[in-house]
């Protein structure tokens, strides 16, 4: 595919055929080579065909092939003319990352790491189809869908300050009545569970502070101190919402004009488009509540093992599978657009009203977790990202090898032993799961963070290194 170099970290796919806008890839040469290995660029071209897409079909530096949209894809749609596409959000609606800071040093935690991991593994259910510990009534589940993390805090899972450090204050305006009985049935037993695949719960150490002032604002300015990261989403409920609306949209609007049937969509202004959006927000609320409850149990485990959890404050919780209505500058004009982020983190700079007050002066925290054996980054959103990527950046290291190749290439037990030698302990449901998530299966996280930093999509604040991992 023909690519035009714009600068060291930006490449364009010129408009051709039915593309309504060009494609734009944010990547270094090294990451671009990785991206070229699969269908990512073709999928970005496909997304560029969608009605109402503005400026570019964007691809982040950690991108890889998805199903329909590339993972790492960003598409902003004109609210009047454009469409909303469930594939542009993904099946795991509201999948995201939350980071907790602590006042323990790594040296204080290390002697207890195995006990902590065992207890975290026991208290936070993970794996395929594992039910959670909460038995929710239908009415309670409706409340979860309507109020998200605010419901969870109201039930005693955490404190009010947590909400002040959560995207959207942990709750989007949603309509739970648009979530089907089957989705409710799927989601009810799973609230407060991690799930499987690439979802994880990680104990980390602040390895390096890149930006002291911002790190201080995020309370992450002490190198050697411990943080905890949680990565998961809306579980079966979100998956079911996406599946059902995809089917409803294709019945209503067909797919004949689309380059990929998975890009099925509905006009934003249509009843079905609006209904999907409000159901999606309900699933987002489920994901906020899910991570809030998991954090509560994490605090309890630490209190049990370490004596207390007084200083375990939430730094931030941010989703990377969403569609949001936001105001952006398009060709010199302020416009309300619908930004699809499929495996991309919002990275708003200072002064945006969407950023919680706690961070409005400095910009929102952005998390880019790497593979379980390498490291993760905390970054800060920028004004510049609003100009160049509708306020979006990468969301992870991004897979490089397929799961089947990883399993052939790596042995889970050896991977775990190797990690242990580096001082990283891992607790997982299966060895196979560890083999799938082995570090070389992912792209270089330092390179991903560097691209984001250099382009100012989000700027580096701190690097975190793993000490212990619970894998779903």
């Amino acid at each position: 595919m023909e690519l035009k170099k714009v600068n060291a970290n930006t490449w364009d796919i010129p408009k051709q055929g039915g593309m309504k806008v060009p494609g734009r890839i944010f990547a270094s040469e090294k990451l671009l080579e990785a991206i070229k290995q699969d269908q990512t660029l073709q999928q970005a071209v496909n997304v560029a065909h969608l009605k109402g897409i503005l400026k570019y079909s964007f691809v982040q530096s950690d991108a890889h092939q998805g199903y329909g949209f590339p993972i790492g894809g960003v598409a902003a749609m004109d609210v009047e003319e454009g469409v909303i596409s469930p594939g542009g959000i993904g099946y795991d609606i509201g999948c995201g990352v939350r980071l907790i800071k602590t006042n323990w040093t790594a040296d204080e935690i290390k002697p207890h790491i195995k006990e902590l991991l065992e207890k975290l593994y026991k208290e936070v259910p993970s794996g395929v189809g594992k039910p959670g510990v909460t038995e929710l009534s239908n009415d309670e589940l409706q409340e979860v869908l309507a109020r998200g993390a605010q419901w969870a805090v109201g039930q005693g899972y955490g404190k009010k300050a947590d909400l002040e450090h959560t995207e959207e204050y942990g709750s989007m305006e949603a309509d739970p009545s648009l979530v089907s009985a089957r989705a409710l049935k799927r989601g009810r037993p799973q609230l407060g569970t991690l799930g499987a695949g690439n979802h994880f719960l990680e104990i980390q150490e602040i390895e390096k502070v890149h930006d002291n002032k911002t790190a201080a604002a995020f309370k992450l300015d002490n190198e050697g101190y411990v943080t905890i990261m949680i990565h998961c989403g809306s579980r079966g409920l979100g998956h079911q919402v996406a599946s059902e609306y995809i089917r409803a949209m294709e019945k209503k609007y067909g797919y004949e004009d689309l380059p990929d049937r998975e890009l099925i969509n509905a006009p934003i202004q249509s009843d079905l488009g609006q209904e999907y959006y409000k159901a999606m927000c309900a699933a987002l609320n489920y994901s906020f509540a899910n991570r809030q409850m998991i954090m509560h149990w994490v605090r309890e485990v630490f209190a049990d093992v370490m004596g207390n959890h007084h200083d375990m404050d939430l730094v931030y919780d941010v989703c990377h599978n969403t569609a949001k209505f936001e105001t952006h500058d398009v060709d010199g004009e302020k416009r309300n657009v619908c930004v699809h982020r499929k495996g991309s983190t919002r990275s708003f700079g200072p002064e945006r009203e969407e950023v919680p007050e706690a961070y409005r002066h400095i910009g929102q925290p952005v998390f880019i977790p790497g593979s379980m054996a390498t490291g993760s980054y905390v970054l800060v959103g920028t004004k510049k990202s609003e100009e160049i990527s509708f306020g979006s950046t990468a969301h992870g290291a991004g897979r490089l090898l397929s799961r089947s190749k990883s399993i052939k290439k790596f042995n889970g037990e050896s991977v775990a032993k190797e990690m242990e030698k580096q001082g990283i302990h891992v607790k997982a449901a299966s060895w196979k799961g560890i083999a799938e998530e082995a570090a070389p299966a992912y792209k270089d996280i330092d390179e991903v963070a560097k691209v984001s930093h250099e382009l100012e999509l989000a700027k580096r604040v701190a690097r975190l290194k793993p000490l212990g991992v619970v894998k779903g």
Partner: protein, 138 residues
């Protein structure tokens, strides 16, 4: 061969085979289960039925596999084998089948299947060597 897994960067792509489309669809169900567990080890202690309708063969496949995923979460059901799968093409396109399997929580599992996708879905109904191809979101 009943099914084969193919390369896909992050998700799972498979092809399932059969002399008839019914057989290929049945094997696709098994392939989905094989993503979650060692399907050979699963016992047949439970039997459920599935009935779905579609507008075309692809949407029928989508809804049928989506139903198997739902049963994992709502019925704690892990599929071993699909029996007596019938596709009715007269009138409304529909599929019925008997699902044999066991309780999910008795087995070691690895990957969760989040959803079925239409991405790269292909259905080849050549008599004697039917093939269906599916990408699952993991």
């Amino acid at each position: 061969m009943k099914y084969k897994f193919l390369e896909h960067t992050a998700d799972v792509k498979f092809q399932a085979y059969g002399k008839t489309l019914e057989e290929a669809y049945s094997n696709a169900g098994e392939a989905l289960s094989a993503v979650m567990t060692e399907v050979d080890d699963v016992k047949e202690t439970r039997s459920l039925t599935v009935a779905v309708q579609g507008e075309d063969m692809k949407s029928l496949l989508y809804d049928y596999l989506a139903e198997l995923i739902v049963l994992v979460n709502t019925e704690n059901f892990l599929l071993k084998r699909v029996d007596a799968l019938k596709i009715d093409r007269d009138g409304v396109l529909s599929l019925t089948a008997t699902l044999l399997g066991d309780d999910l929580d008795k087995y070691k599992t690895h990957d969760d299947v989040k959803a079925v996708t239409y991405n790269e879905m292909e259905i080849d109904e050549t008599p004697g060597k039917c093939v269906v191809q599916v990408v699952l979101d993991i």
